[in-house]
């Protein structure tokens, strides 16, 4: 390498960072530290508060959901029950009507078809007993 360049390099290598730079750095770091410490506590507090708030909100939401969820179910059950009862009543009324009709018809049938022959046979039996051969 050229002699002039060597001298330049040697000269540049002699350059030293002044001590005041490090002093300034230390001063700025110590000035920033309490603030950052305060901010750290503020941040921690804010995060904790946020977490607690979230937990409370979720808890409240769960309670509300539990309160709300059975209400439609109960209403639906109530509706179903009354509907079932109504249908059952209708069905029973229909069955009753059919039974009544059936009984009316049976009565007619018995009185018209079964009773006269039975009466006749009784009469025949009676006359046979009264007037033996």
């Amino acid at each position: 390498m050229d002699e002039n360049l060597q001298r330049l390099v040697r000269d540049l290598r002699k350059e030293r960072c002044p001590a005041s730079v490090l002093e300034n750095v230390s001063r700025r770091i110590s000035a920033e530290r309490p603030a950052s410490g305060r901010f750290r506590y503020v941040n921690a507090g804010a995060i904790t508060a946020l977490v607690l708030l979230s937990i409370a909100v979720i808890w409240q939401w769960q309670i509300n959901r539990e309160d709300r969820t059975p209400a439609p179910l109960a209403a639906a059950t109530e509706i179903n029950r009354s509907k079932t009862a109504e249908e059952a009543g209708t069905a029973l009324a229909y069955i009753g009507q059919i039974l009544l009709e059936a009984s009316g018809r049976s009565k007619d049938v018995i009185l018209k078809d079964a009773v006269p022959p039975l009466r006749n046979s009784f009469e025949i039996a009676k006359t046979k007993l009264m007037n033996p051969i």
Binding site: D2, N4, R7, L12, C17, R28
Partner: protein, 178 residues
């Protein structure tokens, strides 16, 4: 506590290299001091996240980014770039004995510095990192984010340009004094 200790050790180990690099990039002592201060503060803030492997490259890269940013700001403000040419005023010259020779030598060095400051930034960076800070090609490549071959080429060009310009300057001075 460990962080402070580590920071102090790193500061003492690297501050001169940061300062020299900033001085060559910014061509001004006060600005170089500010740059060193800023880089060391960034080191303090990033210390828990910096991987200890090749911390010197990180520091010098940060220095370069900061200095380039400062140069850009200066050019945006269109302020004249102040070259600190009496940088050797407080530096005694070991090579000279005679006061007149010492003054002459200081003047030559000041001129050489001025020529160095006028080189393109990439050549200056490579020259300073290799010759003054003693980094290897690989470290320079990592610091500047360029291939190793480019580092070699830039170094060669920087040496060539500096030799030529300093030589021309000397010839011109001799001619004038004759």
């Amino acid at each position: 506590m460990i962080r402070e200790l580590e920071f102090k050790v790193l500061c003492h180990r690297h501050r001169d290299q940061i300062y020299r690099f900033a001085l060559v990039l910014l061509a001004n002592r006060a600005d170089a001091e500010d740059a060193t201060q800023e880089v060391l503060l960034r080191l303090w803030n990033h210390l828990p996240r910096i991987i200890p492997f090749n911390i010197r490259a990180w520091l010098l890269r940060t220095t370069r980014h900061y200095c380039l940013d400062q140069i850009r700001r200066r050019s945006n403000r269109s302020a004249p770039i102040f070259m600190d040419t009496d940088i050797l005023a407080d530096q005694p010259d070991d090579l000279a004995v005679d006061p007149s020779l010492a003054a002459d030598s200081s003047l030559r060095l000041a001129r050489a510095r001025k020529i160095l400051f006028e080189l393109p930034e990439n050549l200056r960076s490579v020259f300073v990192l290799y010759e003054v800070n003693g980094l290897r090609y690989r470290e320079i490549a990592a610091t500047l984010g360029i291939p190793i071959n480019s580092v070699k080429v830039y170094l060669w060009r920087a040496r060539e340009k500096l030799s030529n310009l300093i030589g021309k300057e000397e010839t011109w001075t001799k001619t004038c004094s004759d």
